[in-house]
Amino acid sequence: MIRYIKIADENKRDAEITFKSVTQKNLVYLALKNGKKPINKKVIKSSKDFTLENLIGKTKPSQEEYNDFSEKLISEDKEIDLELFGKFIDKTDRIYTNKNLNPVYNVELTEKVFDTEGNLKEERVPSYLYSNISGESVLKWTGKYIPRNKLYNKVVLSSKYQIKHINGLTFDFLFKISKILQDKNSFMILGGGKGNEPLVFNDGGKPYRGFLEGKVKDNSYCLILHLSNQEYKTIS
């Protein structure tokens, strides 16, 4: 799906353009003997009615009950459903469940923060972030350049989007930005919100720092927005 964003240049002039995710298909893949690509299919392996606790009939079985279950397994085949297991399934959805694997209709979300030892440090209400790149929002030109060779050692670049023109005017606009970035041999931080905030692409999404990379060759340009939400740190 094509999405629109507004982006500003160094003169604070903005233009509406589009972006799309950049994914590279794997050139190497597992193949069948005849050279064809295998088709992945999901099959039903088990269901909540066949958990060990449900098969024993207790929420918290004792060790003795676990031991006795071995005999049940030998004498009966109640742990499998011949009509259900092995069936192909298409799309699946995830839902919240309680401990008994029954769906819940109302939940309270909390965010738990653990220290490096794995101890719970804090439990808090997660902050819900609204997208700050759509509608009237403009991605700001911060003028903060980071040389290419330094950025790769500073942050983990997790995903990228290609920024594209929509007509002749925006082609010139993006070509110029790409040329500036290529000449400086640097990435530039793009700011959301008032100009210094991380970018949030979707309502409820994660915040990312955006780094703009530009290249030009003859009459063509390539402008990539790299995203990162992790920094490299030395082990203390």
Binding site: L73, P103, V104, Y105, D203
Partner: protein, 452 residues
């Protein structure tokens, strides 16, 4: 047909990479959503089915994106006279009625009727005479298509006009769609994307459920689940809508919805990862959407049918349904009732056909165990068990493999006590090999065969 699998792949790939990437725009959004380009090519949108014209050394085939043929001898004969080189061209096959709007359901109804007027409008070329046109400019493709089909009677080249501004597109939309009831426009931006412009669609649907969790706040309404009435007290789920509500409505509507909640044995997931809470089928809503589709890139859309009896919904089956693109809640229709003539099938079929149902599970007999072996091993009075099965599913449906291999690995002293493994195959030889290989790997010293 040469390289049948290869051709099927090309058709599917075209469907998902080209045909499905037209940008949908509503008629009232032309000035804001269509990109500003130097010029545009406009054509009327035909409401039929995507059709590939495939010519190889053996003949001419008319195929849909799944590689299934459209049986129209007259069109194949005409194409045989028009095309002298091998190639794949793309068009829309439709039912023609003079001065009337094209409808895809008319095509389905009349395709097999020899007296009906079925035509193809050609709008793209993938390859022809050994040349690939996948990266060619539209001008080059158009030149070839015009040349090939200049003498076509029922297979013809797309008729386009060139305009310079979005205002011009608006005028054309007004003339062709609003005044002459055509389905919509296809607009190619010069050096830009392709837009399909349609009038906004509005529907009346029955509300079947609600979910909480707007912006992760579970005291606010997130979405409504809606559908159509197909029989008395039987409903086909169509979709969910989460847009178009004010924050006030997300609170105020909840009281009324909670008062009419009922039980259901169907778990229908919502966007907040909780199931919808079902309600009595009493409310009618108006929904607006940009488009409606009855299949995804590779299959017919199917959704649940539920029956409502004694204040409880029960899932009856799955049936072909539709999906709305960008649905928006416009309001409740208090003036309408939940009755077949007001929220029935016609809400959908006045715009798009519902695909024919394919019976899938009726030909499934009970599965039958073909092979089974049970092993055990005792250590300090604890009995570990390993069970191996092969069963035949006895189904000719695509929903099941022919054979299933299943393994149970139970150890009462282990953290993860009950482990399961499954492998499937359509070959009995292969599944038997999987079975024996697994036992060879697993069963070592101390394990005893108890049953087979």
């Amino acid at each position: 047909m040469i390289g049948q699998d290869n051709i099927k792949q090309i058709l599917k790939s075209y469907k998902s990479n080209q045909a499905s990437k037209y940008i949908p725009v509503r008629g009232d959004e032309i000035l804001t959503k269509v990109f500003e380009c130097e010029k545009y090519n406009i054509s009327t949108k035909y409401d039929g089915h995507l059709c590939f014209i495939v010519k190889d050394e053996k003949g001419i085939y008319l195929l849909n994106f799944n590689g299934k043929p459209f049986e129209r001898e007259n069109l194949i004969k005409e194409l045989d006279a028009l095309l002298d080189k091998e190639g794949i061209l793309v068009g829309e096959i439709f039912n023609y009625k003079e001065k009337e709007r094209t409808r895809s359901f008319d095509l389905v109804k009349n395709l097999k009727n020899k007296d009906s007027s079925i035509k193809i409008v050609v709008f793209d070329v993938i390859n022809y005479d050994g040349n690939s046109f996948e990266k060619s400019l539209w001008v080059e493709k158009k030149e070839l298509i015009d040349k090939l089909f200049s003498k076509g009677e029922n297979v013809f080249s797309l008729n386009e006009i060139e305009v310079n501004s979005r205002r011009d597109i608006q005028s054309e939309f007004e003339e062709r769609v609003n005044n002459h009831n055509q389905e919509g426009l296809v607009v190619k931006g010069f050096n830009g994307p392709i837009f399909k412009i349609k009038p906004k669609l509005t529907f009346d649907f029955v509300v079947l459920g609600y979910s909480l969790g707007y912006s992760d706040n579970f005291s606010l309404l997130k979405e409504l689940l809606f559908g159509i009435m197909i029989e008395n007290d039987e409903f086909l789920i169509v979709g969910k809508v989460g847009g178009g509500f004010t924050i006030d409505q997300r609170t105020s509507l909840l009281d009324n919805l909670k008062n009419i909640k009922v039980e259901s044995n169907l778990i229908e997931p919502s966007g907040s990862r909780t199931p919808f809470t079902f309600i009595k089928p009493e409310l009618v809503i108006e929904i607006e959407s940009v488009d409606i589709i009855n299949y995804t890139s590779d299959q017919i859309i199917k959704k649940s049918v539920v029956s409502f009896d004694k204040n409880k919904y029960t899932k009856a089956k799955n049936k072909p349904s539709v999906s709305l693109i960008s649905p928006v809640f416009k309001g409740f229709r208090d003036d309408k009732k939940v009755e077949i003539d007001q929220v029935g099938l016609v809400q959908i079929t006045r715009i798009i056909e519902l695909k024919n149902e394919i019976v899938e599970t009726s030909n499934k007999h009970n599965s039958k165990i073909i092979k089974k072996e049970i092993y055990s091993k005792e250590i300090k009075d604890l009995k570990m068990v390993k069970k191996y099965f092969i069963w035949g599913t006895n189904s000719s449906s695509d929903d099941y493999p022919k054979f299933v291999f299943y393994k149970i690995d139970y150890s009462p002293s282990r953290g993860d006590k009950l482990r399961r493994e499954i492998k499937v195959s359509n070959s009995q030889t292969q599944i038997k090999k999987i079975f024996s290989d697994q036992i060879k790997t697993d069963i070592k010293k101390g394990w005893k065969l108890i049953k087979n």
